[in-house]
């Protein structure tokens, strides 16, 4: 996934779309928005970041899971099998992005990149609604894919790269 922070207005449409798409219970969310402002008036800079699970290549959440509920599916999406999750919370502790939460039904839940939509040829709900079209989804393994080209062509950063998890969400400046 790639997110252009020079266009995001922080409206939260991605958050609502995720909730209505995935029936995330009220009071919880799989994605959220952060506003980052720096400088002193009037020399200021500000941007928003729409955040969620980074679907890392190196997954401390999967490593720490005692039951195998946390796993990586083909294509690199990190998922939790709800029935196998015992709610121990080890993955929540292990995730540097605070991307996982306890679902009130007793398991750990998180962003799935809407794999049910992706399997159907659609974009994840958050990407598909964004009014600014600042979010892009595609195959990062294919160097010729639109998203790979986009990331290559723009100055970009990932979150907490020092955690060594190889996060798969790129923020484009």
């Amino acid at each position: 996934m790639a997110i252009e922070v020079n266009k995001c207005v922080g409206c939260g449409d991605c958050v609502v779309a995720c909730q209505t798409e995935n029936n995330v219970p009220m009071g919880y969310s799989r994605d959220w928005i952060i506003e980052l402002a720096r400088g002193e008036y009037p020399n200021l800079f500000m941007h928003f970041e729409s955040r969620r699970c980074n679907h890392c290549e190196d997954t401390p959440c999967v490593r720490t899971c005692p039951t195998g509920a946390s796993h990586v599916i083909e294509g690199g999406i990190v998922k939790v099998t709800h029935d196998e999750c015992i709610g121990c919370g080890a993955c929540i502790e292990a995730c540097p992005y605070e991307a996982r939460y306890f679902h009130p039904d007793g398991y750990v839940d998180k962003c799935t990149f809407c794999d049910h939509r992706v399997a159907d040829g659609l974009d994840p709900a958050c990407v598909s609604v964004c009014p600014t079209t600042c979010m892009h989804f595609g195959d990062l393994d294919d160097p010729d894919s639109e998203i790979s080209q986009l990331i290559k062509s723009r100055e970009n950063y990932t979150l907490i790269p020092e955690a060594g998890t190889a996060p798969q969400i790129y923020y484009l400046k």
């Binding site: 449409d13 609502v16 928005i33 500000m46």
Partner: protein, 757 residues
């Protein structure tokens, strides 16, 4: 990035991750909406119904998706709709929360006793409610005349009741969308071009080279099509210049931000004209062919130099020269955006006229990358007898004082409803449809006195907003997802029609506006004006007159029609503008005749009084005024309104982030509720900012049981509670609300006894 100082970090949305809950989870309603169900619904497996969104008034077309049990699961934009291009904003995406909201008005209510908004009601049948309404409307007619029954309205509910009122014989009507919002801008452009802007504004943003935003918060106000076009402009690398005392979202995305001292925008506009004219950066051929009064304008702006403007706006003269040259260099592919909510300082028609004039000398009106000529589909109106002519109407109330009052001025209607009003145009009854005047019109105390002076008040709404408590009869309207309304025929690049069709039956005992209006009409003996049973018949007939039908619209949602005229002026094309001179009037002949300034003159609006801070109010992208606060999805997304204060102010008052404070204005009025502080560099040291629409205080009792918007109640401060100074725009009567000041109280000023009283 971590090394930079004063890093201001705020989590905007998303309540609980890793167990950090910002608000207690909303249980209860969730189980009723989606009981223990996890499987997402794919669009191609769903039943879809076309809709036109009513969460804001951009009116995007979309599709409502239902599962096979008929439950609404999501609302998604219609790909072919020019307002949304298939992408709704957070409010549209969360629009289903409006339908599911358990605090909705469910049954007609009749007042039992009480005044001052704390009324007691009993549930009634529709027939009982209609009987009371008809009896009281007839009593007002007998005692004062039909004209004394006024209609206040907003949105797509409005036209049903406008029809009812016109058929009955009262045209005493107005909507806050005029005087409290965009009438001054319309007036400024009409005086210049002989044409207003309406909605969506015909700004060719996606094709422009330079967009100038003045106090215009695209991105915080989520007028969808505009947000999308600005985003496309960023992609293209176009220039964006934002003028704002606050480091707004769009300021952050701009090529150049001019942090202006509040209330001085007109000085900047005049200085820009000065540079653009004196340096010959204007479109000379266009000015020569299409405009009237250029020589007067040139002479008029000579005194408004950038150096003069620097002393007023605090923007360095060098920046004014630089931006004027950026703007002039882009001519004619440049837009000085007219804005939308332009009721600021009481000379708002003149300020928006300066914007209109600037666009004219840049040659951007009727040009690609400037303002396009929009077109709309003209649908024939259903046949009915001619409306009776009232003895007086909103025109007498508004236009006798304000020549450019092109629509009913709500605040003037309120003035005519006060007990001290002794003139001939007395308002003694009110029918209030889908608007909450206690929030939308400033001067709460005055409005309360006007409401208390009414013989009879009807409120039609979906939610128990504050105004509900002042009603004698409350009628529960169905939400936009449950009802049929007039077709959307708003003008655009390509004329089009969009259909809102009910996706589900109205919940509880709520009813669509058309049905409510028709039932009252028939009981008032106006059967001739309602020669149809179901409003769908009217829409189908209208569509058939232009070669379509309801059946077709149900399949496509939006239908396009061919343009009849070109979208832009051809080079050298002869064009007649609808003004006295037939030209774009840089010098307004009407204004000269009526005694208004024929060209904008800068007026000083004074400084912030010592010990006070200017109150700047604005929008959050996920809310539309007070109408969305109780929507469970949008409440969840943002329910903690924050008061932005500069770090210097925080030091003076000893404030901390997240601390609750109260506001007090110079008249001694203290806010009912507290608001949490956000310390940020994004606001000037002489101002505070807070979002509009919070501080809900509506509460009624129905058969002894409390009824309120329980999520929204008491959260934050309502700006209209604090606004005491209304600077009236002489041309239109619009209410300038930005010259208001407050001070911060850190101790709870309400003692226990009268808390929440």
């Amino acid at each position: 990035m971590n090394k930079l100082n004063r890093r201001d970090f705020i989590k905007i949305s998303g309540t609980a991750t890793a167990g950090i809950a910002m608000a207690p989870p909303l249980t209860g309603i969730w189980e009723t909406i989606f009981p223990k169900e996890k499987k997402p619904l794919l669009e191609n497996e769903a039943i879809k119904t076309p809709t036109v969104c009513e969460v804001c008034f951009w009116n995007c077309a979309g599709w409502v998706y239902k599962d096979n049990e008929g439950k609404i699961k999501k609302v998604i934009g219609n790909d072919i709709d020019p307002h949304s291009n298939g992408r709704l904003c957070p409010r549209g995406t969360g629009g289903l929360g409006m339908y599911y909201d358990e605090d909705r008005l469910k049954k007609p209510l009749i007042r039992v006793k009480g005044k001052n908004g704390k009324s007691e009601f009993k549930e009634a049948t529709w027939d009982e409610a209609f009987d009371v309404i008809v009896k009281n409307m007839k009593a007002i007619e007998k005692k004062y005349g039909k004209e004394s029954m006024a209609l206040l309205f907003h949105g797509k509910t409005g036209p049903h009741f406008e029809h009812l009122f016109k058929a009955w014989g009262s045209q005493t009507m107005g909507e806050p969308a005029g005087a409290q919002c965009l009438i001054t801008r319309e007036a400024g452009f009409i005086a210049t071009y002989g044409a207003g802007l309406a909605s969506p504004e015909p700004t060719d943003v996606r094709n422009t080279d330079c967009l100038v935003l003045i106090g215009n918060h695209i991105g915080e106000n989520m007028h969808n099509g505009h947000v999308q076009e600005v985003s496309a402009l960023i992609d293209k690398g176009g220039t964006i210049i934002t003028v704002d005392p606050r480091f707004s979202t769009m300021a952050a995305h701009s090529t150049k931000w001019l942090p202006i001292k509040p209330s001085t925008d007109l000085a900047l506009l005049l200085a820009w004209m000065n540079v653009i004219i004196n340096e010959g950066l204007y479109d000379k051929d266009y000015v020569a062919q299409y405009t009237y009064g250029f020589d007067q304008l040139k002479e008029h702006v000579q005194k408004y130099t950038p150096e003069w403007a620097e002393s007023i706006t605090t923007i360095p003269a060098g920046d004014i020269y630089e931006t004027a040259r950026m703007i002039g260099g882009a001519s004619p592919r440049v837009i000085i955006h007219p804005g939308r909510h332009t009721a600021w300082y009481g000379d708002d028609t003149q300020r928006t006229r300066a914007i209109a004039i600037l666009n004219a000398i840049l040659g951007s009106w009727g040009r690609e990358g400037g303002f396009y000529f929009p077109e709309k589909v003209k649908l024939p109106k259903e046949a009915h007898p001619p409306f009776p002519k009232p003895k007086w109407s909103w025109k007498n109330i508004s236009r006798e004082k304000h020549k450019m009052a092109i629509m009913g001025i709500t605040n003037e209607i309120i003035d005519h409803a006060l007990p001290e009003y002794k003139g001939p145009y007395k308002v003694k009854g009110m029918f209030i449809a889908a608007t909450n005047p206690l929030q939308s019109i400033p001067s709460q105390d005055k409005i309360k006195r006007a409401l208390d002076n009414q013989d009879f008040i009807v409120v039609v709404d979906t939610m128990p907003a504050e105004i509900t408590g002042y009603a004698d009869v409350v009628l529960p309207e169905a939400t936009y997802l449950e009802r049929l309304d007039h077709l959307r025929t708003a003008h655009h690049r390509q004329p089009n029609v969009a259909l809102r069709y009910p996706a589900v039956k109205p919940k509880w005992d709520s009813k669509p506006g058309w049905w409510i209006a028709r039932e009252i009409g028939i009981r008032l003996g106006l059967k001739d004006f309602y020669e149809w049973e179901d409003f769908e018949e009217v829409l189908d007939w209208q569509l058939k007159q232009v070669g379509s039908s309801i059946e077709e619209l149900k399949k496509v949602g939006v239908k396009y029609f061919p343009r009849k005229t070109p979208m832009y002026l051809k080079p050298g094309e002869e064009y007649w503008f609808n003004t006295n001179t037939g030209k774009i009037e840089l010098y307004s002949t009407d204004f000269a005749e009526w005694g208004y300034d024929p060209m904008p003159v800068y007026k000083d609006h004074g400084d912030t009084p010592p010990g006070y801070l200017r109150l700047i109010y604005g929008r959050l992208p996920m809310h539309t005024f007070g109408r969305t606060l109780n929507n469970p999805y949008l409440f969840e997304l943002q329910h903690d309104p924050l008061l932005w204060v500069h770090p210097k102010v925080a030091r003076i008052y000893g404030l901390e982030n997240g601390q609750e404070v109260w506001l007090k204005n110079p008249k001694g009025k203290v806010s009912s509720f507290p608001i949490k502080v956000r310390i940020t560099e994004r606001i000037r040291h002489d101002s505070v900012f807070m979002p509009h629409g919070f501080g809900n205080k509506g509460r009624i009792f129905v058969d002894g049981k409390k009824m309120e918007m329980h999520r929204a109640y008491g959260r934050g401060i309502l700006d209209s509670e604090m606004i005491y100074n209304i600077e009236k725009d002489p041309e239109t009567g619009g209410t300038g609300m930005r010259n208001n000041f407050v001070t911060i109280l850190t101790e709870n000023p309400h003692n226990k006894k009268d808390k929440e009283s």
